[in-house]
């Protein structure tokens, strides 16, 4: 029996880029996940199953072994520190995790007890610990840029690709915490069980992505 692979991919722009990379490997899927509402699809050869999940859930699927492989942003891996193997930097989906502030405060030095709103509490905590600064964290799930405008927080830590959303909300980048891109990750045991299949596959992927 031929071994199969299950791959969890973040919904959204990572999915689009991942599908393009798969196409370059000659892998095409039965459903177009970009347009269809199905959450999973199998390739025409019946060897690869693609799962479409929330970006924050990709490491969970892989860590628990529900997916053998996953494509997740480094920002998410950095925040969650899941027990998975990081196999490859896919180089697409590039963005930065930044500390940003209203333009007038962006130039002042960081101060103790400032309030930071973020979707990334662990990464933010690690950053301020390394600066030796005690701050107050507020965990938000979206529209982080609103926080300084409404007085909820002094600054934010959030992901930015082009900087456009920050700009439109009168925020400037103070510092960069992390340069992120899409990573191929693997369940540690599945990586052993399907070792030759996965390592061959990684080699192919490397050859089409360089």
């Amino acid at each position: 029996m031929k071994q199969t692979l299950t791959i969890a991919v973040s919904k959204g722009y990572l999915l689009k880029e991942a599908l393009e990379a798969f196409n370059r490997l000659g892998i095409t899927f039965n459903d177009d996940l970009n347009t269809s509402r199905k959450l999973s699809t199998t390739d025409t050869q019946g060897l690869i199953t693609l799962l479409q999940v929330r970006p924050w859930d990709v490491p969970v699927y892989v860590e628990q072994g529900a997916a053998d492989l996953g494509i997740a942003g480094l920002d998410v891996l950095h925040e969650q520190q899941p027990t998975v193997l990081r196999l490859m930097d896919l180089k697409f989906g590039q963005c930065k995790l930044v500390l940003a502030a209203p333009s007038q405060t962006a130039k002042t030095p960081l101060w103790p007890h400032m309030v930071i709103a973020t979707k990334y509490p662990s990464s933010t905590q690690a950053y301020f610990l390394s600066k030796g600064l005690k701050v107050k964290l507020i965990k938000l799930y979206g529209s982080i840029e609103l926080a300084p405008l409404t007085g909820l927080a002094d600054m934010i830590v959030d992901l930015t690709a082009t900087g456009k959303t920050l700009q439109e909300n009168q925020l400037s980048i103070v510092d960069t915490l992390l340069e992120s891109s899409a990573y191929l990750i693997a369940n540690p045991v599945q990586f052993k069980v399907k070792h030759s299949l996965i390592s061959t596959w990684v080699k192919h992927l490397q050859s089409v992505l360089v």
């Binding site: 072994g65 193997l85 990081r86 196999l87 540690p188 045991v189 069980v193 070792h195 390592s199 990684v202």
Partner: protein, 281 residues
């Protein structure tokens, strides 16, 4: 709700306990057939007495508190360190090799939100007093036998060695420990004896495993490195496809007993019986 237990520990009803007892009996039969004797160390120990052998990882995972005199206590986070303490003190004059086994719980704190047990039941053994490839092959064989006796046959044993990390810069060692092959720069080699042609010791372990045909379960993995500070040579991990997790881990720790004042080589492994859950294999 009343009468609940904390997350990470559990009650065993008679039907659950029966399953676990059957497993313990099966593993005991394997160990005793090879001349291993049962041993039991206390659940609670002085933290300072074990700290010398535990290293950073266990110091972090261990559950610690104070007794009435203000002495720091620790719930046994593994069996190897307490057994090393015991053998180095009260059993140092025993005939070598000293072959001991245990079936008891260990207690470890885990990061919040991680679905790992605080208390888990381990069955394992320590082979004390010999540092040879034959001893390592025997211990790996017993690990395989224990799995087979439990009815788990979809297993593989990955073998690593502390030498694999010896010549690497610290950043790459950390990358290996984290499983971060992007920072490492390559996927570590994994295969049969062809990937350890430069390592005479591991080749003789492999030869030893050929004698009972267990070489077919074994893979050498140049990425298998452990953060437990006591390993000094061969390291191994056993896992099963149906459970999708590492169920056994062990290795050689030739310097551990010396930390308790008695230089004596040893090798051993522990099998995580709790990880088998309550489904029958």
């Amino acid at each position: 709700m009343t009468s609940i237990t904390p997350f990470g520990v559990t009650d065993f009803l008679p039907e659950d306990f029966k399953i676990f007892n059957e497993r313990i009996t099966l593993v005991q039969q394997v160990f005793e057939a090879s001349g291993y004797q049962p041993i039991k160390t206390p659940t609670l120990e002085y933290f300072n007495a074990l700290a010398v052998g535990m290293g950073d990882e266990f110091n972090e995972l261990a559950i610690k508190f104070f007794d009435a005199d203000g002495e720091a206590l620790v719930l046994r986070p593994d069996h190897t360190v307490p057994i090393a303490r015991l053998v180095a003190s009260r059993m140092r004059n025993n005939t070598k090799p000293t072959k001991l086994y245990y079936t008891d719980s260990v207690y470890r704190n885990h990061k919040a939100g991680i679905e790992k047990d605080i208390e888990s039941l381990q069955a394992g053994l320590e082979f004390i007093g010999e540092s040879t490839p034959e001893a390592d092959a025997q211990v790996i064989s017993l690990c395989v036998e224990a799995f087979l006796k439990l009815g788990i046959s979809d297993i593989a044993i990955d073998i690593g060695h502390t030498d694999f990390a010896k010549d690497l810069p610290q950043t790459q060692v950390e990358a290996l420990l984290k499983g971060d092959y992007v920072s490492l720069g390559y996927l570590p080699q994994r295969g049969k004896q062809e990937v350890v042609q430069d390592h005479a010791y591991l080749l003789s372990v492999f030869e030893g495993l050929k004698n009972n045909g267990f070489d077919r379960y074994v893979w050498f993995n140049r990425g298998l490195v452990k953060s437990l500070n006591y390993y000094t040579g061969l390291i191994f991990e056993g896992y099963s496809e149906q459970y999708l997790q590492v169920l056994a881990s062990g290795g050689r720790y030739d310097q551990l007993l010396a930390k308790f004042g008695y230089a004596c080589p040893a090798v051993g492994f522990a099998l995580d019986l709790s990880a088998l859950g309550l489904k029958k294999s």
